[in-house]
Amino acid sequence: MQAFKAALRIVLNHPVYLLVYVGFLSCMGVFISASINSGVADDGSYTATKVPIAVVDRDQSELSESLTAYLGETAELVDVADDSFAMQDAVATGEVRYLLVIPQGYGEDYLEAARTGAVEPTLESTYSFGTMAGTLVDEQVNQYLGLVRATAALEPDASVPSVLARADQAAAESADVETVQTPNGAKPADRFAFYLQWGSYTMTAAIVVCVGLLMSAFNRTDVHRRNLIAPVSTLRLGMQKAAACLLVTLAVWAITCGIGLAAFGSSLGGVPLPAVALVLATALVFSLVPLSIGFFLGQIGASEMVANAVGNIAGMVISFLGGAWISLDLLAPEVQTLSRFIPTSWYTEAIGQAIHLTEITPETVLPILGNIGIIALFAIALFAVGLAVGRLNLRSAEAGGNAGAKAAA
C-alpha cells in the first residue's frame, strides 16, 4: 500500500487546495443557493421595498406638500437639512437614494403653467448612482405632477385643493400584486438542487486539481522510471494509485454533498428518500468525469499549475455550458445544442428531474438513470483517452517503457 499512502500524502500535503476548492467553493455555493427566491417569501406574500428618499421643500405650497405626502406613501422620507453639504453627503453616503429639491414658488408657477399651457418650471433631483431605485422614484414624481397638470388643464377654474384631491385620487390607483407559486417554480428543495448543480464546478475543480497533482507526481519521468525498477508490478502500483484517486474523488463528493445536506437538508422534507439518493448518486457518477480529466492530465505529465488552470477553467466552462449556473433556456440555441456534448447538461437535467420526483416508478426513474448512464459514458470515454495516452508514454524510451523490454526478453 506504499503507493496508495504516498498518493494520499501528496494530496494531504496540499491542504490549501482542499480548503479552497472544496471548502470555499462549496460555501460559496451555499450562499448563492440560499439567495434563490430572495424577496419572495416561501408563503407567497409580497412586501414592497421602501427606498430612503429626502424632499427639501423650499416652496411649502399645497402642491409641494401634497407631492411630499404622496412620495411618503411608497418611500421612506428622511430629513435632510437644506444645506448644500448636507444634501451632497446624504446622497453620496447612501443615506438617501433620491433627493428632491422643490424651489420656492414652484407650486404656483407649475399650476399656472398647466392652466395656460406654458412650459412648467423644473425640479432639482439627484439620484444615488448605485441603484435604479432613484430613477423609479423620479418617475413617480413625474407621474404625480403629470396628473396634477392634466387635472388643472382640464378644469382651469378648479381650486388648488380640488385639483390636488383629484390627482391624489388618480395616483392612488394601483395594480394588485400577487405572487403565484407555479408548479415548476422554485421550491425549497430546489436550493439543494441548485447547490449540487453549482457543485459541478466545485467537484470538477477540486478533483481535477487533486487527482492531476497526484497522478503527475507519479508520472514524472524520473520517478516513474525509479518505480519501474522497483520490485513491484506496474499493475499493483497502478491499482494503488487508482484506489487513491478514487478515495480523493469520494472524499470531495462526500464533503460537497455533506455541506449541501447540512445547509439545505431541512428543505428536503417533501422529497422522497429514494429521490434524494438518486440526486446524490447522480453527483457521485458526475464526480467520475473530473476524475477522468485528472487522470488524463496526470498521464500527459501536466504540472501543478496546469492542473490548477485546467481544473478551474474546465470547471467553469462545463458548469456554465451545462446550465449549472444559468438555465440553458436563457442561452442561444447553438449553445443549447453544444451543451448536449457536455456531461454537465445531463447532470443538471438529472438533478432537476430527481429533486422533483414525487413518486418512484420505473417511468419516472428510468429517464434519470439514462442521464446518469450518459454521464458515466463521458467519464469512461475520457478515462479511455487518458489510458491510451498513458500507454503511449509508457512505451516511449524517454519514459523507460519496460513493456517492450518484456517482449525482447
Binding site: A397, G400, N402, A407
Partner: protein
C-alpha cells in the same frame, strides 16, 4: 559467478547504434566504473540492464540469472541512483526515502530503522521535514542517493551522481559510495569525470560510441598505452628548433609549446625529466615551475580514440 553479466548487447535508436555488441562482466564486491564522454552509451547500458529499455540483441544476467522486467526477486537486490534526481517534490525528505524503501521492504519496523540509517548515511538529519524544492543541489543529490540505497541493496548503480554538485558534496558522495562498498555492496559507477573514476573504482571500463574500448584496473589501463610520464616545464619562450630537439629525445613521444609552458609526453624512463631539462639548460632557456605526472585516464582515452575525454 559474475554479479553483472552482459553479453553481446546491441541497442539501436533507429539509425544510431547506442550499444554495439557490448560486453560487461562485474565481480561481486567491485566498484566498477563506466567511463566515457556524454553519449558514449553508459546510461543506455544501465537502462538496458535494469530493463528500462528494450534492446535489439544480447543477454543480460544479474546474480547469475537472466534479467527480465518481471524478475522482482532480482530487482529486490538492486538499488539505483539515477542521473536525474528522482524524488517526489510533494513529499518531505523522510517521506520520500520511506516511500522508495517501502517498495523493497514491507516490514514497517525494519523500514523505519533503514530509513533512519539512510538519512544518517547521507547526512540529512537536519532536513527530514524539508520538501525537495527547499534543498540545495548537493542536498538533493544526497536525497537521491538515500532513496536508492535505503533498502541496502547488494548491487547499486550510480549514474553520474555528482553532476552539478559542489566539491564538498561531491567528496561526501564519493566517500559514501566507498563506505557502501566496504559494507558489502557491489557498485557500478558511471561518470565522465575521470578523476572520480580513478579515485574510487577498482576496475574501469572506458566506453565510446557504444563500444567498450578497454577494461582493467587504473594501473592496467595506463599500462596499455605508450605514455609513461607527462612533463610540463614553464618557460618564457621556445623556438621551433629547440622544440624539435626536445621531440628528438629518445623517450619523448611528442612535445608542444603553448606560449607559457613546454609539455612533453614520454615513455616510461628513468631520466625523462633530466633529459628535457638538459636540452633547455644547454640552450640557455630559463625555466619556471616543473611538473612530472603519471598518465591519466584522459591520456588513455586520448591514445585509444585520438580525442580527449572532454572534447
Amino acid at each position: 559467478m559474475h554479479i553483472v553479466d552482459v553479453n553481446n548487447l546491441v541497442k539501436r535508436y533507429k539509425e544510431v547504434v547506442a550499444l554495439d555488441h557490448f560486453d560487461l562482466h562485474i565481480e561481486p564486491g567491485e566498484v566498477f566504473g563506466l567511463l566515457g564522454p556524454n553519449g558514449s552509451g553508459k546510461t543506455t547500458a544501465i537502462n538496458c540492464i535494469l530493463q528500462l529499455l528494450t534492446y535489439d540483441k544480447g543477454e543480460i544476467k544479474l546474480f547469475g540469472e537472466k534479467m527480465t522486467p518481471t524478475r522482482y526477486d532480482l530487482k529486490r537486490k538492486i538499488g539505483i541512483v539515477p542521473q536525474n534526481v528522482a524524488v517526489f517534490e510533494e513529499l518531505t525528505v523522510r517521506e520520500n526515502i520511506d516511500y522508495f524503501c517501502a517498495l523493497y521492504v514491507e516490514d514497517k519496523q525494519k523500514r523505519r530503522s533503514l530509513v533512519d540509517e539512510a538519512i544518517e548515511f547521507v547526512g540529512l538529519e537536519d532536513y527530514t521535514k524539508f520538501r525537495p524544492r527547499k534543498l540545495s543541489g548537493g542536498l538533493l543529490r544526497r536525497l537521491n542517493i538515500a532513496c536508492g540505497i535505503a533498502h541496502k541493496p547488494e548491487l547499486i548503480f550510480f549514474d553520474e551522481p555528482t553532476v552539478a554538485v559542489d566539491p564538498q558534496s561531491r567528496n561526501s558522495i564519493l566517500e559514501g559510495i566507498l563506505r557502501l562498498n566496504r559494507e558489502g555492496s557491489t557498485v557500478v559507477y558511471t561518470s565522465h569525470y575521470m578523476e572520480e573514476v580513478e579515485e574510487i573504482c577498482t576496475r574501469i571500463m572506458i566506453m565510446d560510441q557504444g563500444h567498450a574500448l578497454a577494461t582493467g584496473t587504473n594501473d592496467e589501463l595506463k599500462a596499455m598505452i605508450g605514455t609513461g610520464e607527462r612533463i610540463r616545464v614553464e618557460v618564457n619562450a621556445l623556438d621551433d628548433a629547440l622544440l624539435g630537439t626536445v621531440r628528438a629525445l629518445p623517450n619523448v613521444l611528442g612535445a608542444t609549446f603553448d606560449g607559457t609552458a613546454l609539455e612533453a609526453a614520454c615513455t616510461n624512463g628513468t631520466h625523462n625529466v633530466s633529459d628535457v631539462l638538459g636540452v633547455l639548460a644547454t640552450a640557455g632557456v630559463a625555466t619556471g615551475r616543473i611538473y612530472a605526472e603519471p598518465p591519466t585516464l584522459n591520456d588513455v582515452f586520448l591514445e585509444i580514440t585520438g580525442k580527449a575525454l572532454r572534447d
